[in-house]
Symmetry: D2
Subunit: 272 residues, 4 copies
């Protein structure tokens, strides 16, 4: 199968990059399943139903979230009916929505999409390793799921790498999100799981985390209140990872995807 994962969509530049490029990529690369992290899609903070629909319409099979899941409060409501929207599985029991979703991909294949949130330097949540285990045990790769994509929304590289090794051989792809900067360590772990510490964001990279850079820079220099954070407005870059799996759902190829103005471009040549 051919899988594409795109990192945190930030504001309008991120959405536009997805809208304009994903439909063509889906066709050109004959993608079977596309997952997009949408936690910053609404002006940098959360996601609205209209935006979620837009991302799905552009070619995503599922949208994952993170620490900004519910910044737009309407997400607390529409997530209960929008089954292709997935929030971290290790939120407390009773949190609206779901932490994993078995998506029907192109051709009827079933792709398990799991979202977990790390705990190092982040909010207090229950164990993301245990949560991932539970979700993967419920839909094992090769038995129930034809592919498994795990979005590890986390700050620390140690926690993401540990998750990669912990799930190695049980997932098609373990990919980090949240830092908004793509890492250059895409590879296939010994057990057959494709891994990338961070997918990077889909957004304007001439910025701080996709937000207009003046106010974030000022906040590091001064400890007084200032302006609101606003999404940057330059052209967005699409960032993520492309993975090809074999019959067992394990990765045979993995390549970073970076399409847009600021970063060195990258993509899966083997699909071109």
């Amino acid at each position: 199968m051919r899988l594409l994962f795109l990192g945190d969509v930030v504001g309008r530049p991120g959405r536009q990059a997805v809208m304009e490029r994903l439909p063509a990529l889906r066709e050109r690369w004959l993608l079977d399943c596309v997952v997009v992290n949408g936690e910053n899609a609404a002006g940098g903070f959360g996601i609205t139903e209209a935006i979620c629909d837009e991302i799905l319409a552009a070619g995503a099979d599922a949208v994952t979230l993170g620490n900004h899941s519910f910044d737009q409060r309407e997400a607390l409501v529409f997530i209960t009916r929008q089954t292709r929207l997935v929030r971290p599985a290790n939120y407390p029991p009773g949190t609206p929505g779901r932490g994993a979703m078995l998506v029907e991909a192109r051709g009827g294949a079933r792709v398990l999409v799991v979202n977990v949130m790390g705990r190092l330097y982040m909010d207090a949540l229950d164990d993301p390793f245990a949560a991932a285990d539970r979700e993967l045990d419920a839909c094992p790769l090769g038995q129930v799921a034809d592919a498994v994509i795990v979005d590890v929304h986390a700050e620390a590289t140690s926690e993401k790498q540990a998750m990669g090794y912990h799930l190695d051989g049980r997932a098609s792809l373990v990919v980090g999100t949240h830092t908004h900067v793509p890492t250059a360590d895409a590879r296939i772990l010994p057990g057959g799981t494709a891994y990338l510490s961070d997918a990077g964001m889909c957004g304007d990279y001439e910025s701080v985390l996709g937000m207009h850079r003046d106010e974030p820079v000022r906040r590091f220099l001064q400890k007084t209140p200032g302006a609101r954070l606003e999404a940057a407005t330059g052209e967005g870059t699409l960032c993520g990872i492309a993975v090809e799996t074999d019959g067992r759902g394990l990765a045979v190829r993995a390549a970073p995807v970076r399409i847009g103005p600021h970063l060195q471009e990258a993509g899966p040549d083997w699909w071109e």
Copy 2:
């Protein structure tokens, strides 16, 4: 000028990658100045005098540090005489060593090497932005220094990006260290400063942060004491960034460097 910066050297695999490859790179790329972060060179924790000498002998003009600066206590002593060893400038006044150093590079050019440590999710230190300002004001690029290299040892991408923009136009290169994973965002900022959020480590990437992966993974699953952390023992990969500067000391070209077994290889084609 031709500058090379290499990220955190971790244990023997990192040291061997530097020893074996740096001398040849220095010649092949006609490097003017090489800076290497050595905070994890001694088994993952700190640096000894012998190891520091080894790295300098292999072709480094200066060695930078970070939160592990003094894990090997002998560093508290030999740093006072080894002027090419630089520790974070925003350590408290009275800390042994120096936070910046004007290195004489090949051909007599003067390169200011500055090391600062971020504060987000890290130990309490004084303002790294103010510290960087002080060091750069003391040796301004184009006046006192022919090139300026700033190693921002920090966890959060936001803080590193903010430092990049804050110093944009005043440094030749602002490069992050500490996460041990190379980022894929090497570029030249609008003011002419080359930037990379993290250089990545020089070490064995089939690991968690360069350390044998079993114990770090276990620590995320269990909260009981276990084994010591040991540096991984597989082949090391060299990671960093290559920068070419113009007569003003600003960057005209920047490319990631990744040489070794686990990551997609990269380098400055324009120097080959």
Copy 3:
């Protein structure tokens, strides 16, 4: 019933205060049940079997722990046979020992002793509120348990207060530990649960957290490695809270206990 809870025993001064004073207090106040936090009893770090036995022999019915539970590794072993030693209930499943214990108090009364660890500014653990709920649901006050004592080992006053209100009416006593400083807010919450944000330590108060003060003070001033932390050696003060419950196991009286050289003395006059 007459309950006494004593906070973190720190090193020899803490142990001596307990050994010397607890047996007499137990008799003088006709105590039905005594619980002591022992996470720092062994030189400030963890607890050994010999020390645990000593504390129990001095009159404790149960010993609770915290983030230092397993600093002495033998605790990983002897906790499995010493059923009166209780470690935080929200450690990961599989952690040796137990997070709650139904103690048989004087006269056959059953006292549920629960230990949970907060998450604000502390290690990543599973939800302590959910863990407390589970333990209290398993042995409800007034049905299975004649009294319920919950030791909330936590840093932030907000989290401890929230736990107090969350359990109000379901526990006889919710008492914080970990900061090693007694708070002056002992009272009975509206639902009948006695509450104290922190019991304080049993240890030498002419110190930083019970440890000899030079090195901790130095660590705030300098960021270089220094001496080991050692327990202070002055006379210890006993700190905690005394609670009297009614037939339903709810508190009718609560008073701080402070006996020793450095703090203003306090105790339950109504038992004298």
Copy 4:
């Protein structure tokens, strides 16, 4: 001299407790100097000019602040003209206002009021120990200042205790604020400095940190957005510490002050 320090005034209950009780206390106890922490006086968040004037009119000689200093943005402006309002001295250079103030107390005595903010589990700021040293060196006790009051706005008891010992003999009083819970460790350190880890708040104690308790408790249980935090509305309790100094400005007596409905009442009997 007779000094009184009152902890964080939280919302209307805190202000009313100050308004109603401070004028009488000032007379009854013949107070020479009163300092009040006002960082939460405006509905729990910051302080307005009107409220600052109110607190001063009620009998405070100076008002200190903390991490909420500028939650009410007008404080950025009026702090420049209101010289009796003191914000943490270790805010970045250029922050409006001042970190220390030499107050003229009753009878013309000069009292140095210093405010510093801790760094453990708090925002990144410059070294509070160095900041306190600078302020105390500029107005030494016994030479320039007749008394010195240092408000250490900090989370961790270790940092507050370390500050106490670090300044012991150089200040009349080192008192913590920020946790909103009074500690029971008021005492005079070996060098003659009165010390209390936390003054506690002036506010409604049937609450979480002075705020209506439902929403804070909910936030520990659920990770979804909810209601705004609102100050509680029950009767407020006055909390702080009373200190009597000798001719050198060192403490000869220190007693906690707790006046109001929820906590065990306390005060300096020796002034009655």
